[in-house]
């Protein structure tokens, strides 16, 4: 095999492997270097295995509420090892799928860590290292860095693999903690809080900001908090976590809440306080590429300041979402191949959280739209007034729309409740296609579906919703 390629992709996560597949479609000879697992964190230790866990937890929760549906079952129980095993099985299966896709696309894969090793003419040289030894040197005029990110470690809150968990430990528990403290209420934090709460843990969430899920519309944050508390979680906002005192099999700490200090002893702590980019040991210092606080600086086509060097996905900065990484991979490769792709617009990237209830959104929150100077029209529709949601026994939820009063542009949409992560794409299409309230109002939504709330929330912003 020659060591010369058209493109080298470093990192086999949802950014890197999609970039490699698209490059192959466009006729490039592609190398992909991955150090650990094809599919990256998303597929192995993130999005996918957590969805498997949450599915088990959700069913278990439902088993305890069968009476609501006129059903009954004797002593519902779960086997934690089997729940985890299923989740790992899903990850393994999807990982194999990625490997197969890459093989089918004739992408040359290299097992190891990659390091930029200078240039030869127009080509970048990349050294592939395995266990400290260089196993290959490959070259290409274009190199995409897709090395992803890892959990941020705060001083005093470092994960230790036993008592203080990161995402990886949290999704492979050997025993179920009775009491759990989750630090941070972003998507990762609340998903784990949801999972463990549904399995019966006493869950406390500590958030330093003044509300949970701070990236979401404040109204949605408030509804989420209410729903989580109704499900039995304890939530502290505006709260700092004091030093963690580790015991034999427990952790004690003091929460500084606005209402005074709260002493807390839990079995385990999950730390989900953000992300740092994997920018180390890539040989970046020998290039012109700039790094700002663990993220590589890129332009709208993912180009760094070093000619022929690109960065996509988490390592290139927020939002840290798999679909953002994949899309950047496609844009980046299409630009390299001489096409004219549309740059990614941050406000058209949806965000989804798979807690119970689910949360999904796209575009500007009402608060941010107002702060940006828009005169807004806001529509809301509660799931309580939606036939399908009530029939499903899931009447808690809301769809909210934010329109520019002057142009009818859909500035943002925010949803909380069952299946909203599956529905938000409708509004994403509306934003990408620059639809206005007129087309959304004219659209026929199928009955009975929860998606009818999406229609009603548009009507509510203008002439008024029909079913409330």
């Amino acid at each position: 095999m020659s060591n010369l390629f058209d493109l080298i992709v470093i990192g086999g996560g949802p950014g890197g492997y999609v970039a490699a597949l698209r490059a192959s479609q466009l006729g490039m000879n592609v190398a992909l270097v991955e150090s650990t697992h094809m599919g990256g964190v998303c597929l192995n230790w993130g999005c996918i295995p957590t969805k498997a866990l949450l599915r088990s937890a959700d069913l278990y929760h439902t088993l305890h509420h069968l009476k609501d549906y006129g059903l009954s079952a004797e002593n519902p129980s779960f086997d934690l090892a089997s729940v985890v095993k299923r989740s790992r099985g899903v990850a393994t299966r999807m990982g194999r799928g990625v490997a197969h896709l890459l093989k089918k696309a004739k992408v040359s894969t290299f097992d190891g860590r990659a390091q930029l090793a200078g240039r030869q003419g127009d080509a970048h040289k990349v050294a592939v290292m395995k266990d400290g030894q260089q196993t290959a040197e490959i070259q290409a005029p274009h190199v995409i860095l897709a090395t992803g990110a890892r959990a941020r470690q705060l001083p005093g809150l470092e994960t230790d693999g036993k008592l203080i968990w990161g995402a990886r430990e949290a999704m492979t528990p050997d025993v179920l903690p009775k009491k759990l403290l989750v630090i941070g209420s972003g998507a990762i934090g609340v998903e784990f809080a949801s999972f463990y709460r549904d399995l019966g843990c006493e869950v406390t969430i500590a958030e330093v900001a003044d509300r949970i899920m701070v990236a979401e519309d404040p109204e949605i944050s408030a509804q989420a908090r209410k729903a989580f508390e109704k499900r039995g979680m304890t939530i502290h906002t505006n709260t700092k976590v004091g030093p963690l005192q580790k015991g034999e099999n427990s952790v004690s700490t003091t929460l500084e809440t606005p209402d005074g200090t709260v002493d807390l002893t839990v079995d385990r702590v999950i730390c989900a306080v953000g992300i740092v980019g994997n920018v180390e040991e890539l040989g970046l210092e020998k290039t012109r590429a700039k790094v700002d606080r663990t993220h590589i600086i890129t332009d709208e086509f993912c180009r760094t300041d070093e000619p022929g060097l690109y960065a996509i996905g988490d390592v290139a900065g927020a939002p840290w979402l798999a679909h953002k990484a994949s899309h950047e991979g496609v844009i980046c490769v299409e630009k390299i191949s001489g096409r004219s792709p549309e740059p990614l617009h941050a406000l058209n990237i949806p965000g989804c959280t798979y807690s119970h209830p689910q949360v999904a959104s796209v575009g500007l929150s009402e608060e941010k739209a107002r702060a940006a100077g828009y005169r807004v029209k806001v529509g809301r529709f509660p799931f309580l007034a939606n036939g399908k949601a009530v029939a499903m026994g899931e009447p808690d939820g809301m769809t909210k729309t934010v329109f520019d009063a002057e142009t009818g542009e859909l500035l943002g949409a925010h949803m909380i409740g069952p299946e909203v992560t599956e529905m938000i794409q409708g509004y994403v299409i509306a934003r990408t296609g620059e639809l206005t309230e007129a087309e959304l109002s004219e659209t026929v939504f199928p009955h009975p579906t929860i998606s009818e709330t999406m229609h009603e929330a548009v009507l509510a912003a203008y002439e008024g919703a029909l079913h409330i």
Binding site: E342, G373, T407, G408, E409, G433, E434, L435, T436, A438, E439
Partner: protein, 416 residues
């Protein structure tokens, strides 16, 4: 095999021509050398001969269609018994909206307006041609009185998006030079130059303003000597940095401060309510080739003279280069029009809706003034405030001008 008949270049300089008349109908047989059409250029009318033999499968361009770029497919020639393709075979993009009529029924199609534009030509679009445009862009274009046929789309497959409408307002003048040339030499002495998009927008907006907004005007003379002296001192100290404050920069700052002191002018009238603005976002009229744009110094009350100067220079430069992004010239709570550099004594500006006021600044001139009963010479500038009387009454306009005059005549507050 189907072949395209292309718009011929009848002279070395010909870029476009008008299809004056078809001499063959769809379905007719042609032999090489047969005359198939008459083409009109600005210089002459000429006949086009068929190069190949075959059957006229489809006429792609209606009689009388102007501005057809050279090498645009105008008809499709097919062999006997061959199916007629919907689209020209040579063009890479399907640029023809085919008439719905069946391919065999020849006569009606020659009347059907199946126009053709070359991919690279200016976007000339006739009736019946589908324009791909987002609903939001279509609505904005309508509101701004823009002809969507003149917009160039930058979205997928040339789809017109919001940004194209936003950019259309400033970029259009440069985009249609060929049309202008074609149209400019028709009737003797009079040259008729089609309006640029910008000219149309100016015409519409200012007509709306003058006919729908009740203007009143207040003028005041302001002595400039103190401000000019301060400016020289400041510029001497800024020289090392290569910065030079203009009177305009200082007036932007003075106007912003005056709006903070008298916020009653920093408003907009709407049908149902009055909008009061906290920030003084000052729009400054910049003349550009074929029109003007009004880039905005946002929150000018919170910015130093240095910031204002740097920003104003950058905005004016990019305004002239047509490189402003829409946020940079849309909005603004108050406008300034400065014609001081042209030596005018005074003038009154037309309001820039929906803003409630605009200040016209004339040039500073040495004039006799009476000071303590003595005749003296001072540098005096006349400024005229145009005000929307629906939003602001006369006394407030006058008071505001006095505030402005105090700020300019005692200019140290501009730097504190």
């Amino acid at each position: 095999m189907a072949t395209d008949i292309l718009m011929p270049a009848l002279s070395p300089t010909m870029k476009t021509g008008t299809l004056a008349r078809w001499l063959k109908k769809e379905g007719e047989t042609v032999a090489a050398g047969d005359l198939i059409a008459e083409i009109e250029t600005d210089k002459a009318t000429m006949e086009v001969e068929a190069v190949d033999e075959g059957i006229v499968g489809r006429l792609l361009v209606a009689e009388g269609t102007p501005d057809i770029a050279v090498n645009t497919p105008i008809a499709i020639l097919v062999d006997e018994g061959e199916a007629v393709p919907e689209k020209p075979t040579s063009a890479g993009e399907p640029t023809v909206e085919a008439p719905a009529a069946s391919t065999a029924s020849a006569p009606e199609s020659s009347a059907a307006p199946a126009q053709e534009t070359s991919r690279n030509a200016a976007p000339v679009v006739e009736k019946g041609k589908r324009i791909f445009i987002s609903p939001l862009a279509r609505r904005l274009a309508k509101e701004r009185g823009l002809d969507i046929a003149t917009l160039k789309g930058t979205g997928p497959n040339g789809r017109i998006l919001r940004r194209d409408v936003d950019n259309g307002a400033v970029k259009a003048p440069a985009s249609a030079p060929t049309k202008t040339e074609e149209a400019s030499v028709k009737s003797g002495e009079v040259q008729s130059v089609p309006h640029s998009t910008m000219r149309k927008v100016i015409a519409r907006r200012l007509t709306e303003s003058k006919t729908q907004v009740p203007h009143f005007y207040v003028s005041v003379d302001i002595e400039l000597d103190a401000l000019l002296a301060l400016r020289s001192k400041l510029n001497a100290s800024l020289e090392a940095e290569g910065l030079k404050l203009s009177v305009n920069d200082m007036m932007i700052r003075a106007v912003a401060l005056a709006l903070k002191k008298q916020p009653g002018l920093n408003v907009q009238f709407t049908e149902t309510e009055m909008l009061h603005f906290d920030d003084a976002d000052i729009a400054m009229a910049v003349s550009v080739p074929d029109g003007l744009v009004t880039p905005i110094i946002r929150q000018a009350d919170k910015k130093s003279l240095r910031q204002i100067s740097v920003e104003a220079r950058d905005l004016a430069g990019r305004a002239r280069a047509g490189k402003l992004v829409p946020e940079e010239f849309q909005g603004g709570t108050f406008s300034i029009s400065n014609m001081g550099m042209f030596g005018v004594k005074d003038f009154a500006a037309i309001l820039n809706p929906p803003q409630a006021a605009i200040l016209a600044i004339a040039s500073g001139q040495k004039r006799p003034v009476v000071r303590d009963g003595e005749l003296a010479i001072a540098t005096v500038m006349t400024v005229t405030l145009s005000v929307d009387h629906r939003a602001v009454d006369g006394a407030l306009g006058a008071q505001w001008l006095n505030t402005l005059r105090d700020l300019v005549q005692n200019p140290y507050s501009l730097v504190i």
